[in-house]
């Protein structure tokens, strides 16, 4: 028997806000953007929030980028995961964050937001395979580019219904630009990718003394990242369920001693 919906359900068929928020201006802006050829390389969007700008100005300059890209290679209605692209540049050039040699630096690179990511087609260096469920897995890989930048990729596969074969559902990538590597000396470079209900945290391990990378959520649950090396370098990867909103990242040396201060 179908359950009867509560009386307030009917009110939820209407609009949540008084004003129309998908405005004509927004639609026009989308049309204008659609008319332009896809941008290859850096996609930038200034973050408009004044408070954020002020905070960033106070923090010197930060270049930040979100991450994702995908190619729908599955042939299903897999939703392409777009880059959450946003960079903010205060001043005319990139400046390093105030840097503490004992701190693990968490920072973010430019991401490629083109719909047809060249790196996806390039030869990959396999990094790691991680099965998240009986019927879902990630395959991680990297591609080192001539300028020293690298692309970190995560291919997501599922076994649909009764199928026994893995079917690709999408690819998410981030790109670490070589020319910004001065910001990350002595630490870890961190990124995240989201696909389905999983979040992948990953980055390059630059500190040779780092033997363990640990993520701790607000409840104290720990996730040990896998550190793996391939021809492109040494990387750490952690896959967690959901979209954790708050965690501590800590690198440990071979004796389990923390390297620098944890980053929250």
């Amino acid at each position: 028997m179908k359950p009867i919906n509560p009386e307030w359900y009917e009110a939820l068929k209407g609009e949540p806000l008084r004003e129309r928020t998908f405005t004509d201006a927004l639609a026009a802006s989308i049309q204008e953007r659609a008319a332009r050829p896809p941008v290859r390389g850096t996609a930038s969007r200034r973050l408009a929030a004044a408070g954020l700008t002020a905070a960033l100005a106070a923090a010197s300059a930060i270049c930040y980028d979100g991450l994702l890209d995908t190619s729908d290679r599955a042939g299903h209605d897999a939703a392409p995961v777009q880059a959450a692209s946003a960079d903010l540049i205060v001043g005319s050039s990139f400046q390093p964050l105030p840097y503490d040699d004992n701190r693990i630096t968490v920072r973010f690179s430019q991401s490629i937001t083109d719909d047809h990511l060249p790196a996806v087609e390039a030869p990959h260096n396999a990094l790691l395979e991680r099965q998240t469920e009986d019927r879902a897995k990630f395959e991680f890989w990297t591609v080192r580019k001539e300028d020293g930048s690298y692309v970190f990729g995560a291919d997501y596969y599922v076994k649909e219904n009764d199928a026994q074969d893995w079917q690709p559902r999408g690819t998410a990538t981030f790109t670490e630009q070589a020319d910004e590597s001065s910001l990350s000396k002595g630490g870890l470079i961190s990124h995240s990718l989201g696909y389905d209900d999983y979040t992948v945290f990953a980055g390059q391990v630059l500190d040779p003394n780092a033997e363990t990378v640990r993520l701790t959520d607000r409840k104290g649950n720990r996730t040990e990242a896998t550190i793996v090396r391939n021809a492109d370098g040494r990387f750490w990867v952690a896959v967690v369920y959901g979209r954790p909103d708050g965690y501590t990242l800590q690198a440990l040396d071979r004796d389990g001693e923390p390297l620098g201060s944890p980053v929250r």
């Binding site: 359900y9 998908f22 659609a34 979100g66 994702l68 968490v106 719909d115």
Partner: protein, 183 residues
Amino acid sequence: MDKQDLASLVNPDPETLGRLMDRYGQDIWNYAYFLTKNRAMSDDIAQDVFISAYRNFSGFRQESSVKTWLLRIARNVSFNYRNAAFFRRALLMDVVSPTQPGRSAEQDYLEREATSEIWRSVMRLPVKLRETLVLHAKYELSVAEIADLLRIPEGTVKSRLFGARRRMESLLKEEREHEAYQS
């Protein structure tokens, strides 16, 4: 805008994009807002969703409705924006430690602009319950469609719906008591 209409497109078509936005623009913006509770981010997400759809018309294979296809894109994009927002926050907290007491501008906006107390209560639900509830009540997706969109078992959808309704009853009761006290 029907499925065949969209699936037949091999090349991007501005007219179809326009029709897509006319039909689903506000729904997609709302969905992003339900997930992020942030207007600026919802603007950006809505942009990315339609650009992504526009460039991937040919990837639409009619295995879902146009609405659920767009919702799926919106969900992916939203999560990535939320992750990005988290990292911005983490980075800023680390550097400037801005602890802001009191309500945010977004909370004030919602308090002012929400069309009803029911919607205000919905926005107070945890995101998983909120998302499941609005997909069912506002977007009128079936339990099976929600399960497919969220990639969770149908039993989990039902459980979240049950939890969302129970929390809503509690929030609405709280609100009624508050109003009675005020008067």
